[in-house]
Amino acid sequence: MHDAPETLPTEQTVYLDHAATTPMLPAALEVMTTHLRDVGNPSSLHASGRAARRIVEESRETIAQALNCRPGEVVFTSGGTEADNLALKGLYWARHDADPARVRILASAVEHHAVLDALHWLAAEEHAVVELLPVDVHGRLDLDALRASVARDPATVALVSVMWANNEVGTVQPIEDVVAVATEHGIPVHTDAVQAVGAIPVDFAASGVDALTLTGHKLGGPYGVGALIVRRELSLTPLLHGGGQERDIRSGTLDMPAIAGFAAAVEHAVKVQPEYAERMTALRDDLVRRVIGVVPDAHLHGDAVERLPGNAHLGFPDCEGDSLLMLLDARGIECSTGSACSAGVPQPSHVLLAMGCDEEGARHSLRFTLGRTTTGADIDELVEAIGPCVERARGARER
């Protein structure tokens, strides 16, 4: 009916929203499209089924090797949101069933909505007691608050969930310290590592976490596929009931081509992570330095050191973030206000509010996130455009 619009970043577009989604790696695209031609349900017993199953299991092994877990610990899901929901609800139900005294869930106040909304649901419908733990001005979890909350009554904590790295401001959380606090009392820890895998080193076994969420489209794989890595010993109550394809924890026909593309992307992203991080950090630091050079009162949100390499979240005082986004978009520069839009109505970011930002400061912010396809020329274009755009957006506000 209508021509399909071009949705991949083009030559004309400066795409600085890689934390929202990033282009597929050629290797992932190749393997996925190749397998889309294949027939065979991985659960079927005949030759075609076995061939599909083999691709799935090889993919599982690839991911396990990249993240240092056992292949049996990889549970494929439809993406990050499902993996987070499975981890939180599945762990809560299992732990609460085993001991009804375990009613508390501790999480950071800056979690992604896939975690926060699942926790709100558990509180509203399952009578879980959710405690959102404070963060400092850089968005780092207050470990003393975690310790105090656990110590108050360790036996009542069903689980702890703290993201590996924040999707908005890029702050990396002290996961090892979180694990140290929780394991002392035998409390399982879940972490949403959607933004971390491929960007910074992530080692499942070494981290000591019990469950870890990752997703394909944030690291060069396809949309609609992700995984929850769950320690073998841990029992989870399933969300979806059906064929029990994934360790009886998750049902649904396995999306073999997407899983193959996902695995290829994880393998590549983890392999090149050190060089990637180095290149992104240099580009990101250049972006921040030069944007502040043009807009002197702009400032970086989040931790300057414990930070995702491709994340530059900047506050622009007296400048509406959504006006600035629109003006940059009109010049072909794509970024994000970083906040979740409910019904298209921008809400002040809960992350920035938790970091002590006021509502106005939260609205006066933009997130630029770099990725594999980002070049120095992209930064040049942003630096050239940002001054006039900020000036114009400020002028619009003063009227």
């Binding site: 959504d322 006006s323 629109m326 009109a330 019904a343 109505v345 114009r392 003063e398």
Partner: protein, 367 residues
């Protein structure tokens, strides 16, 4: 020109945006988020503030091929339109929130922001026409489709606001707009028109006001009295449930002596007294208004047309203007005119301006 098209999610504003593109403008679609909690405003196909409407607007922008954003005007809308609506009802008047929204939101907050961001004008799906006179003045005129004409709710716009406005639908009948929408592949072609007040979710204004105004003094009940005898005929739970000329919902036990229906004649918010009487007592021919706003230079005294409610008839009138105040003498009387409503003044099809009605009376009755 660089134009912001305000897209409600309805058929009119979608076609208006498409026509602005056809006219050669560089168009950006904007949906105005007017409620902090979109679910609390009217749901279903009739509203202008719901999630579904935002999606309809977005899909229309996709089909037209223009960029699309949501602008959050919810705080301004609440302060300037919703609270004003409550205050006016609390004061015993009958406000028109659509005029208020045009005056304060669409052609003020939105236009200002658009101009600040480098746009030249705001396009809407209002049925009205703009013409530039020989002296350069931008004139606001009634739409070709008089049945659908919305110049009344635009009568609050000043010359500066009109210069920043584009009304692409004024030369076309509504039925043709639906046909055009379908031909353009816009899925909202068959969407029903909106009629009610967008922030009253179920169309029950009195119920909404009762809930919002609650026990807010001095408006929590009073007597319903007969205008002629002064006799108390019943009680009510708040004057905001009434508007001048209202017949339904009086719930009077005693029938009138003449057996004819009774109508609300007057609302006295301080005492809470609602006065009722026969239809004839609603007839007025003199109006005092204030808060005048003129589309061009303010006129002095003249004879022309006056429209007293949205989609109401035009009355011939002698109008005299003194500063903000406007005195209107109707040459053919009107019935059931409520303070708080706008009197919009016309010269032929051209809108001269508007003023807010503060009092009405009957010269003929006194004479």
């Amino acid at each position: 020109m660089k134009v912001v098209a305000a897209m409600s999610g309805g058929v009119d504003s979608a076609v208006a945006a498409a026509r602005a593109v056809d006219a050669g403008h560089d168009v950006t679609g904007i949906h105005l988020a007017l409620s902090r909690n979109p679910a609390s405003y009217r749901s279903g196909a009739r509203g202008c503030c719901t999630l579904e409407d935002a999606n309809d607007a977005r899909r229309a922008a996709d089909v037209i091929g223009i960029p699309f954003y949501v602008w959050d005007l919810s705080e301004r809308f609440h302060e300037d339109v919703v609270e004003d609506f409550m205050d006016e009802y609390a004061a015993g008047r009958t406000p028109n929130p659509c005029l208020r929204c045009n005056e304060k939101i669409k052609f003020a907050a939105v236009l200002d922001r658009a101009l600040g961001l480098g746009f030249d004008a705001v396009a809407t799906g209002h049925y009205a026409q703009l013409r530039t006179a020989d002296d350069g003045l931008v004139e606001l005129h009634r739409a070709v489709d008089h049945g659908k004409d919305q110049s009344y709710v635009l009568g609050v716009l000043t010359q500066d606001q009109l210069r920043g406005s584009v009304f692409p639908l004024g030369d076309t009948a509504k039925a043709e707009i639906r046909v055009e929408a379908a031909a353009r592949g816009l899925l909202v072609a068959e969407k029903p028109d909106s009629h009610d007040i967008c922030f009253v979710s179920d169309g029950d204004n009195a119920g909404w006001l009762r809930e919002k105004l609650g026990e807010r003094a001095p408006n929590h009940g009073g007597a319903i009295v007969d205008g002629e005898s002064g006799e108390e005929l019943g009680r009510h739970e708040g004057t905001y449930g009434f508007t001048i000329g209202q017949r339904r919902g009086l719930r009077l036990g005693t029938p009138a002596a003449d057996g004819k229906p009774r109508f609300v004649l007057d609302i006295e918010p301080v005492s809470g007294t609602v006065t009722v009487g026969p239809r004839e007592a609603l007839t007025i021919d003199r109006i005092d208004a204030d808060r005048s706003r003129w589309c061009g230079p303010a006129p002095t005294s003249y004879t022309g047309g006056v429209q007293l409610r949205a989609h109401g008839a035009e009355h011939a009138a002698r109008v005299s203007v003194a500063g903000d105040a406007v005195s209107i003498e109707l040459l053919d009387p009107a019935q059931g005119i409520a303070p708080g409503q706008a009197a919009v003044m016309y010269d032929g099809t051209r809108v001269l301006g508007s003023a807010t009605i503060v009092a009405t009376s009957r010269i003929g009755a006194d004479a």
